[in-house]
C-alpha cells in the first residue's frame, strides 16, 4: 500500500456565469486527502459539494486555485487530457447508477477498459470484468442486464465499473440516494471492504447516518468548508446488517 497524498486542493474556487449573474459555487477550498482515506463530503444542496466533487473528479476545472492529483497539477489540463486522467486514476459511482441499458453487467464493467491505452483482447477484458464483478459479490450475474438486477445489484455493477481500472480514488455521488436503507448499508459494507483493502473513497452524501460509515466527514456550506473532522462513532456495516436482520426476524 502506497502512502501519501492523493488529493490536494489549494484555494480552489469555481465561478459560474449564467447571463448577468455570477454564481460563486466554491469560494476557496483547501483540502488534502491521504491515500486510504474514506471521506464523506456533506452539505445541503447549494453548498458547493457537487461542484467540488466535479473538480476532484476532473470533470470540471477550477476557476482559480490549484488541484494536485497524486502530486501532479491537473487544474490546467485540456479536455482530452482530463479524460485520460479520469480513465486511469478515478472511478465514478453515481446516485442513479448510470449503467448502459440493455447491456450486460460484464459489458458495463468493461466500458472504462475500452477507452484506455492498454490493448486487451476480448478474452482478457472479459476475465478482468468478471474478476471485479466477483469481488463485489456478483458472481454468476455477469450476463444480466440492468433491468434484470435490483437497485443494490445495479450499484454493485457501477462500483465494479469504477474499480476495473484500479483508480487512485473512487468518487461516489450520493451512492445510496436511490436505495432502501438495508441495501444502503450493504453498499456501505462494500465501500468499507474496499477501503480496508486500501482504496481511497470520497463520497458525497447529505445523510448523516450514511456519512457515519466513513472515517472522515467534511461539511460544506456556501462554497467553503465549515467543518472537517474524523468520525468518532464510526458505524460498521457488518454489525449494522446483523442488527437489521435480527430485528426483522424477531418481528
Amino acid at each position: 500500500m502506497k502512502n501519501g497524498e492523493v488529493v490536494r486542493l489549494i484555494d480552489v474556487e469555481k465561478t459560474y456565469r449564467t447571463g448577468e449573474m455570477e454564481v460563486r459555487a466554491v469560494r476557496g477550498v483547501s483540502l488534502q486527502i491521504q491515500r486510504g482515506e474514506f471521506v464523506a463530503l456533506m452539505g445541503a444542496s447549494g453548498s458547493g459539494k457537487s461542484t467540488l466533487m466535479n473538480i476532484v473528479g476532473c470533470l470540471d476545472r477550477p476557476s482559480a486555485g490549484r488541484y494536485l492529483l497524486d502530486g501532479a497539477d491537473v487544474s490546467g489540463l485540456e479536455r482530452d487530457q482530463l479524460a485520460d486522467i479520469r480513465n486511469r486514476q478515478i472511478g465514478f459511482v453515481f446516485q442513479n447508477f448510470n449503467l448502459l441499458p440493455r447491456t450486460s453487467a460484464r459489458e458495463n464493467v468493461e466500458l472504462p477498459l475500452l477507452y484506455g491505452d492498454h490493448r486487451l483482447s476480448n478474452a482478457q477484458l472479459r476475465e478482468k470484468a468478471d474478476r471485479v464483478l466477483a469481488s463485489v459479490g456478483l458472481e454468476g450475474r455477469e450476463d444480466h442486464h440492468p433491468s434484470q438486477l435490483s437497485g443494490g445489484q445495479q450499484q454493485r455493477v457501477a462500483i465494479a465499473r469504477a474499480l476495473v481500472n484500479d483508480p487512485e480514488v473512487v468518487l461516489a455521488d450520493e451512492p445510496t440516494g436511490n436505495l432502501d436503507s438495508r441495501t444502503s448499508v450493504e453498499i456501505m459494507g462494500i465501500f468499507q471492504q474496499l477501503n480496508d483493502r486500501g482504496i481511497t473513497i470520497v463520497m458525497v452524501t447529505h445523510e448523516t447516518d450514511i456519512a457515519a460509515y466513513a472515517r472522515r466527514n467534511v461539511i460544506m456550506r456556501d462554497g467553503v468548508v465549515l467543518n472537517d473532522s474524523a468520525v468518532t462513532r464510526r458505524l460498521d456495516a457488518q454489525t449494522e446488517l446483523e442488527r437489521i436482520t435480527r430485528s426483522t426476524t424477531e418481528r
Partner: protein
C-alpha cells in the same frame, strides 16, 4: 490506436437497438434498391436502343431524296424524287471507301397467296441490302444482282409476312401475288422484332428495286440510297464526297440548299441514345431522391439517438472517452447503418430488376460500376448525415450529460 475498441462499442450500440437499426437501414435499403433497379431499367432500355441502331448495319450512310413544294404544300423527304438510279451508280463508281450501295424504293400494298392476303410494306433494294443491313436469311437464298439487272419477279419475305400468309408452311419457292403480279419467294428473313418506334420490322417484302419500280411502286426515282463505308474512319470523308458528287450531278450552284439529305448512322444513334440517356438520368434522379430521404432518416435517428443516449455519452466521457471517441462511435454507427443498408439494398435492387425483366419483360442491365457506386454513395450518405449528430454528441459537456433527464 483505439479504432478496434470504437468499432466494438459502435456495433454493441447498434445491436442494443435492433429494431431501430433495421428501420433506419430500411430507408437506405429502399433508396439503394431503387437506384439500382431504376438505373438498371434505364441502361437496359439504352442497350436495347443501341442494339437496334446496330441492326441498321455498320458504318451506314443514308441519303434521302429532298422535299418539294407544290402549290404551297411541302412533301416530306423523298417527295421530290431527286435521287435517280444513276446517282446511286455514280456513288458506287466514284466515291472511295464505299463498299455497298442499295437503291431503295418503298410502298405499302396488299399481297396475296392462295386464299390468304395481307397488307404489308414492300421494299425495293439492291442485292447488297442484306449484307448492308446485316440481315441474314433464315431460309432460302436472297435475290441476286442478276435478278436486279433483269428485274425478275422474285422476292424475300419477312418473318411476320411469312407466317401471316403461309402459317407454318415453308414459303420458299411459293408464289406471292403483289398487285396481281406473281413473285417467286426465294427466301425468308430472320426475325428482327419491333423497332424503337414500335414498328414490326418483320412485316415486309423485299424485292429487287428494279422489279419494285417496274411492277409495284411505279415512278423512276429512288426514295433513298443506303450506302455502306468500309470502316468507321471513312464515313465522314465518304459523306462529304457523296454531298459534293450529288450537288454536282444535280447542278446545284454554290449557296443553294441541297435537294437531298445525308444522315449517317452515328447521328441517328446519338439522337436515339440521347432519349434513353435522359430517361436513365430521370429514373436515377428520382431514385437518388429516395436515397437522400434515407440519409435524412439516418440523421434523424442519430439525432434522436444522441439526445436519448445523452446520459450514456456522459458516462462514456466520465470513464475516459475523448470527444473524438464519441464522434467516431456515432459516425461508425451511422456509416454501418448506411453501408449495411446499402449492401442489402444492392441485393434487393438486383433482385427487383431480375424480376422486372422476367415478369414485366422490361430489359434491365446492371453493371458492376453501378453496384460499386451505390455502395460507396450509401456509405458516403452515412458519413455526411451522421457527421452533424456525431459532432453534437462529441461536444457534450460530461457534467451536463450525466445530469440529463
Amino acid at each position: 490506436m483505439r479504432l478496434g475498441s470504437t468499432l466494438n462499442i459502435a456495433f454493441r450500440a447498434l445491436r442494443r437497438n435492433k429494431l431501430r437499426s433495421v428501420l433506419t437501414a430500411l430507408g437506405i435499403i429502399i433508396g439503394v434498391a431503387a437506384v439500382i433497379a431504376m438505373v438498371g431499367i434505364g441502361n437496359g432500355a439504352k442497350a436495347q436502343v443501341e442494339a437496334q441502331i446496330a441492326s441498321l448495319g455498320q458504318n451506314v450512310i443514308l441519303i434521302f431524296s429532298g422535299s418539294t413544294t407544290s402549290s404551297g404544300i411541302r412533301t416530306g423527304w423523298g417527295g421530290a424524287g431527286t435521287l435517280k438510279i444513276e446517282d446511286a451508280e455514280a456513288i458506287r463508281r466514284e466515291v472511295p471507301g464505299v463498299t455497298a450501295v442499295s437503291e431503295e424504293v418503298a410502298s405499302t400494298t396488299q399481297v396475296a397467296a392462295g386464299n390468304q392476303n395481307w397488307f404489308t410494306r414492300i421494299y425495293g433494294e439492291s442485292a447488297d441490302y442484306f449484307d448492308l443491313r446485316q440481315w441474314p436469311l433464315a431460309d432460302g437464298a436472297p435475290f441476286t444482282p442478276q435478278d436486279v439487272r433483269s428485274a425478275n419477279k422474285v422476292c424475300v419475305v419477312g418473318h411476320t409476312t411469312a407466317t401471316q400468309i403461309y402459317g407454318n408452311d415453308d414459303p420458299v419457292g411459293q408464289i406471292l401475288r403483289i398487285k396481281n403480279v406473281p413473285f417467286t419467294i426465294t427466301g425468308v428473313l430472320t426475325p428482327r422484332g419491333l423497332s424503337t418506334q414500335g414498328v414490326d420490322q418483320d412485316d415486309v417484302v423485299v424485292m429487287p428495286y428494279t422489279s419494285a419500280m417496274k411492277r409495284v411502286v411505279g415512278g423512276t426515282t429512288l426514295r433513298n440510297i443506303n450506302v455502306q463505308a468500309g470502316d468507321a474512319h471513312q464515313i465522314d470523308a465518304a459523306q462529304q464526297q457523296i454531298v459534293s458528287l450529288l450537288r454536282q450531278r444535280h447542278n446545284i450552284r454554290p449557296g443553294r440548299d441541297d435537294d437531298f439529305t445525308v444522315r449517317n448512322q452515328q447521328e441517328i444513334a446519338e439522337a436515339a441514345t440521347a432519349t434513353s440517356r435522359v430517361m436513365t438520368l430521370l429514373l436515377g434522379a428520382i431514385a437518388g431522391v429516395s436515397l437522400v430521404v434515407g440519409g435524412i432518416g439516418i440523421m434523424n435517428i442519430m439525432l434522436v439517438s444522441v439526445t436519448e443516449r445523452t446520459r450514456e455519452i456522459g458516462v462514456r466521457l466520465a470513464v475516459g472517452a475523448h470527444g473524438r471517441d464519441i464522434l467516431t462511435q456515432f459516425l461508425i454507427e451511422a456509416v454501418s447503418l448506411s453501408s449495411i443498408g446499402g449492401l442489402i439494398g444492392i441485393i434487393f435492387g438486383v433482385g427487383a430488376s431480375k424480376l422486372l425483366s422476367i415478369y414485366a419483360h422490361c430489359p434491365t442491365l446492371i453493371s458492376i460500376g453501378s453496384i460499386a457506386l451505390s455502395f460507396f454513395v450509401s456509405a458516403g450518405v452515412g458519413v455526411f448525415f451522421g457527421f452533424y449528430p456525431a459532432r453534437e454528441a462529441a461536444r457534450l459537456d460530461p457534467i451536463e450529460a450525466l445530469r440529463y433527464e
